[in-house]
Amino acid sequence: MAYSAPDSADKALRMAMELDVFVGNTTIMDEEVYQLWLDGYTVTDAVSMRVRSGILEQWGACQAVLESDTTDHYRTFQMAERLLHCPSKLANQLLFQIPPQRQAMLIERYYAFDPAFVRELLGKKLSKGTKKDLDDVSTKTGVTLKSCRRQFDNFKRVFKVVEEMKGPLVENIKQHFLLSDRLARDYGAIVFFANIRFETGKKKLQYLNFEDFAFCAGQLIQNWTVGAVDSMVEDMDVDLDKEFLQDLKELKILITDKDMLDQHKSLVCTALRGKIQVFAEMEANFKNLSRALVNIAAKLMHTKDVRDFFIDLVEKFIEPCRSDRWVLCDVKAFLTQYMNSARALDAFKQQAIWERYMTVIRSCILKMYHE
């Protein structure tokens, strides 16, 4: 005689359960189930995943218990979701009693994103159209559509809130959404990319991951926006400093003035002789490389060319170097020398602009240069 209910009976019992709720004075939120919910799994999927994790054996529970628990958690999360849309509300709402450290966890996890997903969306306009195409992204990245939508909505929500805000972008995100420093920085990058709509989807850029772009975004925000010049300036951080972009075309003198170009080259070559493996290639290519970098600068006054910033860096600089098998430290040595040597050019008056331009270019290229 079997004393435990067989599975079929178990199932029948569950079907007939009209109502099943559990409410704690302190809201119980299981991190594992929260992750499954965030990942967009249905209750059924989540239950079978939990079963596979061996939780039943560990606690001697049956499937019905797990189903009830999962459903309950999902309901709790759905109820809490609107609060997560405005995380500051979570701290002073009265409906859920959640300890502060758990609130922070909930927010951080809710705003976390899949690197694969964000890579797809980076630089795209956060419009309804993009949202409609999320099923393609979902198929491509393996992230569930539900999760894609949540992440997209997060991007858009953050974008909308900070778009019109004054002051430093990352700080704004951090304060308004109560995110950790790291996550706020990532959102800064996402917002920045979405605003300027940098092209990141081209095939040649596929090898770059989100982290690469986020780093570059950080560099651009720190150096090329209006807020970068003077942090006291109460202005937006999401747009590049137009004035600076205009000034960039003055750098052209470095390639148009033949004397200066030669002098620049000889300074670099003298300094690097024997110090890099690809000296010969460098010497042969110097003028092309210099031209490429300066031309990129000169083009940045046009919005369209700003969008092509990364593709230009790859096509005009990174690819030629790579085909000559430059190693990263050679690239680093070259760029450092290339930047610094310009200081010694007496006729070159645009030192400040040069510095501001090259600091970013140098660190971006170094980040983007995968051997």
């Binding site: 109502l19 709720v21 859920f96």
Partner: protein, 1054 residues
């Protein structure tokens, strides 16, 4: 005009968008009290308005202050159409009326709408200026304190326990008024909420008046319930225990006025401090300190006059001369005790106490559970001002309880409660409690004089005294096997003890306790009117009997011998009755080791059947062995060996012998039968019995690390840490199968409860090791094919390692602590314990010093049936008493009843507040409000009671699917109720609710119409507590804000 109510509306936040065009709201607030209304200005275009209003002042009678709630309505201003209501806040200002409770209400309240739920929050400030009213004939009872807690509240000292107070008020239910057909659901819900709030206020005021009349100043164990009788009306009723409480100015001070004696005439001097405090006190911590607690024999207030004569006539052997009864009993002392107790209680119409936990020495003996049930047909309440029928119904039941108690040789009923279950026009009224003998010292005037004499009297050791039988062993009211107490070896004890109260803290217990439930469903034909009532009446005794059998079997299966906190609920539906009995099983060291369960098959049978039987027997034996290990029940024989003196001392033995020789054959027969320990036989004579045994064995074992009980404290666990998680879980099961059998139904119901428990254990697994305390199940049959089970309980963490090592030590320490705490807080006499500790336990017949207060003494009778009224269908059905008698050979019980039940028992532990917390405190910025059904918070000290929380909410939806179905709807509603309770507590300056209960959760749905409605009624005591470590660090009371509450490890499971 004795009072001025002042209200200021400060601000709002998170308001809903009321104007779609602007995505904003133009909010203003109406503040209403009684018939006066004030309005704030409109704060345009904001979801976070800052009104910063002036002080709105209401000049009102204090009668109104008690009855009326303050009503705050938030509205959206609309220039062209009617203003839209956003929601309301009802604030009960009663806590402001007592000088010892809260002084101001200030904080964020959720704005609640019965259709939309919580919609933002509003910051409100409320104050009351009370002018002293010297009018003797006043209608108000301001200043009487109310406590839900069913023990003496922790920062008070009981000067006098006056006794039972009850009251009920009736009204028409707005939902059933003609106007309801034309008003909106919102208006209807609000009318209902407001009416119940008003009625609660009125009820509380009236009870307060009774308390004042009795000379008391507080109600402890206050339980208010409402009965939705549908067409016939709405009843709000309450019971409680009137007390005179004294606030302990400094709870840690050891020296307090030593003795209080109540005067005879309460009206002249309700209570007075004794002018000659006992000088015996030798030091702050010595248990020998001689203090006396006095119990006032004041007459219980009641509308009807006492009818003690008729009561007595119910038991045949009343009026017997004391000499005769002395001769018959083992010792005359018992009789003397009874005489005195009785005389003191004789004056009371109902010597009932809603308390479940008592100061040391209060309880002398416990007889067993007494309960009564009666089936009534509801009729329309014609005149709300004269709710006589309902009063008469309860009166009848209480009389019956009283006579049952008498039959058990007891004069008081403790752990008393009353409940109802209503289906259409049929109503089952139930009452239950525990018959008990109280210490005559507490019930007598001039206690100081008798102190010295009492010292000579034979004291029962506190650890077992309450187990000793109060009834005459020759005329036992029910068949029971008596043995000499395994603890003191001097007095008789029953083999099993059932009670509705909490386990006394001083009780000697072996091992740990556990939750035991009996579950039962019985199908019933649909019927109307009298036929229906008769059918229910006929079913009840069988259900009671079976529930008891189940309880007894399960108790034996766990190797235990006593049940505490027993609560039997029988709910009636259209086509079935559902019964659920919950209790905490315990092994009382004083009681004999329970025998096993033996299965007897029906007469000669084939071999396979025999084998089947023996298999089952094996399984049962295995389960018992496993349970004993699980609950750490070491047979007392081995304990005796450990302690070392199993044989009574010579004198004692001689007395034992003497009592044997004195006693008749019956006694020796009883002793003989005790020799056969396996006398408990389960006969398998039909399919039902097989089913029973199955259900016995299908109770899932507790997962490792979990314990559960339905009482305040878990026997065997003493070192709670600070983790506290209160929760409510509700399940509704739909019976799809139309032709169900009783067995099928039983299985479904059993599985429903078992699975619910399993789910709870799983949910709370992160708190292990932990104990579910005060597990309170409520069953209902809301519709034809629905069974609803709601559970409220608290999970508390404890330190496992310490539990094992220090158990023995701790018990001793607890005892000491109880003593000292009693000294500090309660002022109870300590002779008993000190005597027992000094090892001078024996002076048997020196009861002569007792004052003999004449009066009648009752010799309990075995002919219990005489007290039962067989008459009409509407009355209790008592035939089952006969049934019990027939089956008495197989089932022995520690309780007596005709038709029994008890709706609620919120047990309480006293002297258990000083529990060490091992978790250290880390700061926490959010105001956390803890909620617990217990009367204490582990590792913390309650420093102030801020007033009673008693809230009633209705929630309705016409978009059930959109709100996540029934589960989504109810989940949100329960969360909202919690939120509103917390907000009110925080606004009173508190950081916890203790003795919290959800008294009602009525859920109705109509999925076809996409509608659902739910009513919830909750109550509890708002308190301020401080962590013990904080208390040590800060000698001064810390700020009243809730900031210092939760430690990081505290209320944070999962």
């Amino acid at each position: 005009m004795p009072g001025k109510l002042k209200v200021r509306i400060v601000a709002g936040r998170h308001l809903p968008v009321m104007d779609r065009a602007s995505d904003l709201t133009d909010a203003f607030v109406e503040v209403k009290f009684g018939n006066t209304t004030f309005k704030t200005d409109v704060y345009p275009k904001s979801l976070n308005p800052q009104w910063n209003s002036e002080w709105f002042k209401f000049e009102v009678d204090d009668e109104d202050l008690q009855d009326e709630p303050l009503q705050i309505t938030v509205l959206d201003h609309d220039t062209y159409s009617a203003n839209d209501a956003i929601g309301k806040v009802y604030i009960d200002i009663d806590p402001l009326l007592s000088s010892e409770a809260a002084t101001v209400i200030s904080g964020w309240f959720p704005i609640y709408d019965t259709i939309h739920g919580i919609r933002g929050e509003i910051n409100v400030l409320v104050k009351v200026d009370l002018f002293n009213d010297l009018n003797r004939f006043r209608q108000s009872s301001c200043g009487v304190k109310f406590f839900c807690t069913t023990s003496i509240p922790r920062c008070y000292r009981a000067v006098i326990v006056h006794g039972f107070v009850e009251e009920l008020v009736v009204n028409e239910d707005p939902e059933y008024q003609w106007i309801d057909r034309i008003r909106t659901p919102r208006a209807s819900n609000e009318a209902r909420q407001r009416l119940i709030s008003l009625m609660s206020g009125e009820l509380q005021r009236k009870i307060g008046l009774k308390v004042l009349e009795m000379g008391g100043n507080a109600v402890v164990g206050y339980l208010q319930c409402f009965d939705l009788e549908g067409e016939s009306g709405l009843v709000v009723r309450a019971i409680g225990t009137a007390c005179t409480l004294d606030k302990l100015s400094n709870p840690s001070a050891a020296l307090l006025p030593a003795c209080n004696s109540p005067s005879k005439d309460m009206k002249e001097a309700p209570f007075s401090e004794d002018p000659n405090p006992n000088t015996h006190s030798s030091g702050p911590s010595t248990p020998l300190k001689n203090q006396t607690y006095s119990f006032s024999p004041s007459k219980s207030y009641s509308r009807q006059s006492s009818s003690s004569d008729t009561d007595l006539s119910l038991t045949p052997k009343t009026g017997m001369g004391s000499g005769g009864s002395v001769g018959k009993e083992g010792g005359p002392l018992k009789t003397l005790l009874r005489q005195q107790t009785q005389s003191a209680l004789e004056h009371r119409e109902f010597p009932f106490f809603t308390l479940t936990c008592f100061p040391m020495g209060f309880l002398v003996h416990v007889g067993g559970v007494v309960s009564a049930r009666s089936v009534k047909l509801l009729d329309r309440i014609h005149n709300p001002d004269e709710p006589e029928t309902r009063d008469a119904w309860w009166e009848e039941i209480r009389q019956e309880i009283k006579s049952h108690a008498k039959a058990l040789g007891c004069h008081a009923v403790v752990g008393y409660s009353e409940t109802t279950s209503i289906c259409e026009e049929v109503c089952i009224l139930s009452a239950s409690g525990t018959a008990a003998v109280l210490n005559p010292k507490f019930l007598q005037d001039g206690c100081l004089d008798s102190c010295s004499e009492h010292r000579l009297e034979e004291p029962s050791p506190p650890s077992c005294g309450f187990c000793h039988i109060p009834y005459d062993e020759l005329n036992m009211p029910f068949p029971a096997h008596l043995t000499y107490c395994f603890n003191c070896r001097r007095q008789k004890v029953p083999d099993v003890l059932f009670t509705t109260m909490d386990l006394p803290l001083e009780a000697a217990v072996t091992g740990k306790g556990c939750l035991i439930q009996a579950r039962l469903c019985r199908l019933k034909k649909k019927a109307q009117g009298e036929a229906n009532a008769t059918a229910i009446s006929n079913l009840l005794p069988f259900m009671e009997y079976e529930l008891h059998t189940q309880l007894m079997n399960k108790l034996k299966l766990r190797g235990m011998n006593a049940l505490f906190g027993l609560r039997i609920q029988i709910s009636v539906g259209e086509n079935m009755l559902v019964g659920l009995a919950s209790a905490t099983g315990v092994y009382l060291t004083a009681l004999p080791t329970p025998g096993g369960i033996q299965i007897a098959g029906k007469t000669p049978s084939d071999i396979s059947y025999e084998q089947h039987i023996s298999n089952m027997q094996k399984k049962i034996n295995e389960t018992i062995a496993k349970n004993k290990e699980l609950y750490e029940i070491i047979p007392p024989e081995s304990i005796d060996e450990m302690i070392g003196s199993p044989i009574p001392e010579p004198r004692q033995r001689s007395r034992l012998f003497r009592s044997h020789s004195e006693s008749s054959d019956e006694v020796s027969e009883l002793d003989l039968s005790h020799g056969k320990k396996d006398a408990f036989v389960l006969e398998i004579d039909d399919a039902d019995a097989v089913e029973d045994i199955h259900s016995l064995l299908t109770d899932a074992p507790l997962p490792t690390g979990f314990y559960s009980c339905n009482t305040e404290i878990m026997p065997g666990i003493y070192n709670w840490t600070s983790g506290v998680q209160m929760f409510t879980s509700v399940r509704v099961f739909r019976l799809n199968n139309t032709n169900l059998t009783n067995q099928g139904l039983n299985k479904i119901f059993n599985d429903l409860c078992e699975n619910l428990l399993k789910s709870l254990y799983f949910k709370l697994r992160s708190m292990i090791p932990c104990c579910l305390c005060h597990v309170n199940f409520a069953v209902a049959v809301p519709e034809d094919e629905l069974i609803q089970v709601a559970v409220t309980a608290v999970a508390m963490t404890f330190d496992k390692d310490q539990a094992q090592e220090n158990l023995k030590l701790y018990v001793d320490k607890t005892l000491m602590k109880v003593i000292t705490e009693n000294e500090e807080q309660l002022q109870f006499p300590l002779e008993l314990c000190s005597d027992s500790q000094s090892g001078n336990p024996f002076s048997p017949i020196k009861g002569t010093g007792l004052q003999e207060n004449a009066g009648m003494h009752i010799v309990p009778s075995a002919q219990r049936a005489t007290s039962v009224d067989y008459s009409s269908f509407a009355d209790r059905c008592s035939t089952w008493i006969e049934l019990i008698k027939l089956k008495a050979q197989t089932i022995r019980r520690g309780s007596i009843k005709t038709t029994s039940s008890l709706e609620k028992a919120s047990p309480v532990s006293e002297g258990h507040s000083r529990l060490r917390s091992t978790t250290s405190n880390t700061g926490c910025t959010v105001a956390v409000v803890k909620m617990t059904p217990l009367s204490f918070i582990p590792g913390a000290k309650i420093i102030k009671y801020l007033g009673i929380i008693n809230m009633f909410f209705i929630r309705e939806t016409t978009s059930l699917r959109e709100e996540g179905g029934v589960s989504g709807f109810l989940h949100a509603f329960i969360a909202e109720v919690f939120a509103m309770v917390r907000a009110h507590v925080a606004a009173l300056g508190g950081n916890a609710v203790v003795s919290y209960i959800m008294k009602e959760c009525v859920f109705m749905e109509n999925p076809n119409k996409n509608q659902a409605q739910c009513l919830i009624n909750v109550s509890g005591d708002a308190v301020i507590f401080v962590r013990e470590c904080d208390l040590e660090a800060l000698p001064v009371q810390p700020q009243t804000s809730a900031a210092q509450t939760s430690s990081s490890g505290g209320e944070v499971p999962a």
